[in-house]
Symmetry: C2
Subunit: 81 residues, 2 copies
Amino acid sequence: MRKVKIYITLKEGVLDPQGKAVQNSLHSLEYKNVNEVRVGKYMEVMLEDTENLEEQIDKMCDQLLANPVIEDYTYTIEEVV
Amino acid sequence: MRKVKIYITLKEGVLDPQGKAVQNSLHSLEYKNVNEVRVGKYMEVMLEDTENLEEQIDKMCDQLLANPVIEDYTYTIEEVV
């Protein structure tokens, strides 16, 4: 069994209105030293090990989990006993 | 300047219908080896360094970024030049 941690972020240059809203809220709460907030997604996927695991994860991200037009993704794979 | 990477996850035992929906979609795409998906949030916050930075981040998470009743969070702090 493998635990895959997937981090999905907006590409640089893509506007992030959700992050901007969070930033404005932090300013309202008097955290004035916050300069920028970017919001992304984080997923933990448990799956049975298989041949070409990285290839499978790339396909899963490209097909469903991320939008490759505007998002980048990275992931780590951990062994779970 | 500091870059804080914040990872927000649902606590163990809290139902994750969004993760379940993603899992079902992956099964429909013939990724049958996927056993569980949990969806969380990932944020990158750029902020000016300050005294008690970790204390400030904890407060920001508890007040706004995470829901401490059902979510856990972890973060890493990086120096940015």
